[in-house]
């Protein structure tokens, strides 16, 4: 596979066949909690996508130019989190300053995003899989979009279930998990569509 196409292949794979939520189970907590409404889900999903794309790129740079040369790879957990937290803090301040509307829409989500395991997970995976910068960026972007796709699909389904009769034990998290299970199965159908080798 040529150098140019690999990032694109990773991009599509991270949305469909290796969806960070449905295949790697990352980002579930906020996924289950927020997916009750389509609008809020969309808001959170977009915020996650933005932060993910930016932080995987930033973390790649930090890893390549700071951690590796000084043989400090084992500190990556600490460093990546600081980068993510600092970035989110920065974004929050920028949004607060320049757009009241956007701040109201997205503001509450930002602290939630800092602890979203998918964001940290994306950076950690990028290191393990030894991606290049371009690939990392597309991986982050794709993973975010995949997460967005999953949460919006989930919200859409859950909204429709509001009038359905669900057994007591399954209300809330239970039924959400079952839906997620079926979605994961459905996404598995995309396997083989794109081969990365």
């Amino acid at each position: 596979m040529s150098e140019l196409l690999f990032p694109l292949a990773v991009f599509f794979a991270s949305i469909f066949t290796s969806n960070i939520l449905l295949t790697n189970y990352l980002g579930m907590c906020s996924f289950l909690a927020v997916s009750k409404e389509l609008e809020t889900s969309a808001g959170l999903g977009i915020a996650v996508t933005f932060v993910m794309a930016a932080t995987t790129s930033l973390n790649w740079l930090v890893y390549e130019f700071v951690l590796v040369p000084f043989q400090l790879e084992y500190l990556r957990f600490i460093v990546f989190i600081i980068v993510i937290a600092a970035f989110v803090q920065l974004i929050e301040m920028v949004i607060e300053r320049y757009s009241e509307n956007l701040y109201f829409a997205l503001g509450i989500f930002l602290p939630l995003i800092t602890v979203n395991c998918a964001i940290l997970g994306a950076s950690l995976f990028m290191v393990i899989r030894e991606y290049t910068f371009m690939t990392s960026f597309f991986f982050g972007l794709g993973s975010g979009l995949g997460w967005l796709l999953a949460i919006m699909a989930m919200a859409g389904i859950r909204q429709r279930l509001r009038t359905a009769k669900i057994p007591y034990g399954l209300e809330g998290a239970g039924i959400a998990l079952i839906i997620a299970g079926f979605m994961a199965m459905a996404f598995m159908g995309f396997n083989g569509m794109i081969s990365i080798q």
């Binding site: 084992y74 600490i78 899989r129 030894e130 396997n191 083989g192 081969s195 990365i196 080798q197």
Partner: protein, 194 residues
Amino acid sequence: MKTQSFYAKRIQPIVFMAVVTIICIILTAALHLYTYDQVKENEQFFVWRSVLDSAAISHDGTPSDVVKLFDQYVTEDGDMYVVNTPEHGRRFVLEQTGPGLWGPITVMIGFEDDKTTLSGVSIVSQTETPGLGARIEEPWFTAQFAGKKGPSFKLVEEGTASQPKEIDSITGATRTSDAFKSIIEKAFVLAGGL
């Protein structure tokens, strides 16, 4: 309520963070340095053990045994390992790395002296899906390669391999199985050029 001074509001949090960060880094750096040698030893153990396994030299799995046998029978020659034993003659072990589903898979591939028959394969490192792709490390999977002649193979459903060129794939890990097959086949190309 007294409004916070400039120091308290802006500077103190940063100072606090910096102090905590430094303490954390010191703690982790200390532990890292303390275990550094052990970690390096472990890594080398995995590599050497794989060399022995792919050359079909039996050992009891302990580091001391592996080191002893490695020193006794193996010499490193550039990119490959030459293994000389009285029972099996000369074998070559090549290290080959290829992309797996999640990350690189590194495999030691052992060839008999004729450079076309496999003596065995052994996985040095992989990061595939636990319980699925990661099963390439299981003995039944790697054992099926011993004695096979390449240079190309065919993946079949798990448990149905019968022909010499057929390999059992892993149910639910099609792509990892594919990736692994590619790695083995590439090694044949390399071996041919030795």
